[in-house]
Symmetry: C2
Subunit: 231 residues, 2 copies
Amino acid sequence: MDEEQGVIQAENVGAKVYQRLRLDLMRSRFRPGEKLKLRDLAAGLGVSPTPVREALARLVSENGLQQLDHRSVRVPVLTEARCREILELRAELEGRAAARAAEHSGPAGAEMLLAIHERMMAAVRERRLDDLLAENERFHMTLCGLARQPVLLRIIEGLWLQCGPLQAGLTQIRMKHPRDQHPHLEVIRGLREGDPSLARLAVQRDVSLYGDELLRRLPQLNGPLSAEAPA
Amino acid sequence: MDEEQGVIQAENVGAKVYQRLRLDLMRSRFRPGEKLKLRDLAAGLGVSPTPVREALARLVSENGLQQLDHRSVRVPVLTEARCREILELRAELEGRAAARAAEHSGPAGAEMLLAIHERMMAAVRERRLDDLLAENERFHMTLCGLARQPVLLRIIEGLWLQCGPLQAGLTQIRMKHPRDQHPHLEVIRGLREGDPSLARLAVQRDVSLYGDELLRRLPQLNGPLSAEAPA
DNA sequence: GGGTGGATTTTGTGATAACAAATATGACGA
DNA sequence: TCGTCATATTTGTTATCACAAAATCCACCC
């Protein structure tokens, strides 16, 4: 059940289901608008509805899922305003985390991030799109973890969770910057040189650059499924 | 079950229990370190353990409660570092919300806040300490609501939830600023005059002024109960 | 009298079952 | 052929139950 995603030290079934669904949402393994059915999920995971219900309740209260009509839940369909708000907050808060990371994480952190980034670029070259999304998520979460601010990290994870379903759009983006000027590399340089404001600006550039592209594609990312719902 | 706290439009029992516990935590109705027992809560609310368990799981995933040993949960006992982090983030994010509120909420918002603040001061004079805490919470949440940024509001609520148990310390603080220079009044002036940076600075002053006092008292706020746990 | 070992009780976990509401299905009639 | 109403199925909700692990208690022994 834990595949490649590192150790999950959840003991009870409810927490396991929660972490599994949460990570799947952050890595865009569900499509916006998709309705989640209790018994289907439970059967798929080989557990009873009770712990699944617990997991869904947790995700709803983090806005990782939307409560539809007091009965069913679905993967969020974001309005443009909400999506913009999330991206603004991500830029602000991930920037803050990156600056803090640059202050007191040595070059060790930079090397860790570089390894992740290179795995991500390999995934791009080889068209392994799921891995691309997973490595990108890992890059950002690792960076924010280096800030050693657990409350901030948790908030940022929550923001990723909320815009997770749209991250799939990243796989459609052909960015025009040359390979050796990817914002991630500037972030890494900021950490390596202990330059907080460089790190902050680079992260903000990454988020807003790709965020703007996602915003442009938002209708088509939501589209196929938001049309499916009312039909 | 809904007392004075405004309309709660939760339909299912689990959500009702969740909202009840959440608001009680934000308003410091529980003491740090207190262990929450499933069957006791259920009996007290006249429901079965199942929905209570759902509510507790939601609160744990928002860090409004701490998972003790993979079995029991307790009201958080905050370290100084964590408390400081929460207060820093509150200053930043509530400041951001206040600035946004000043930009596009007219004097109507200012009057609403003034009414809440005056109820709060009345509660101070008459030593109604629970009401003091409730009105203070209402002031901050109403202010942040005026920013019309639901994602940001939710994050700030989460931060209040996490430091809620410590807010009880506010009742012990005799602040030295004259009555007509309370930071809340400056916030209101910022809104009334449409001055975002005044509103931001005033909120930040409020949070850090009272936050510093709470930090000084943190050991004694945690103390009685964190001593209770190991004994 | 104090400490240790076992039994009892407490407490959380998760599956099942009973219920209710909503949705889907299908037949009948216009 | 299409709409409508009744029925059947699906689906979420919550209480109950069975179980396991932890904590408590009590007796017994040193």
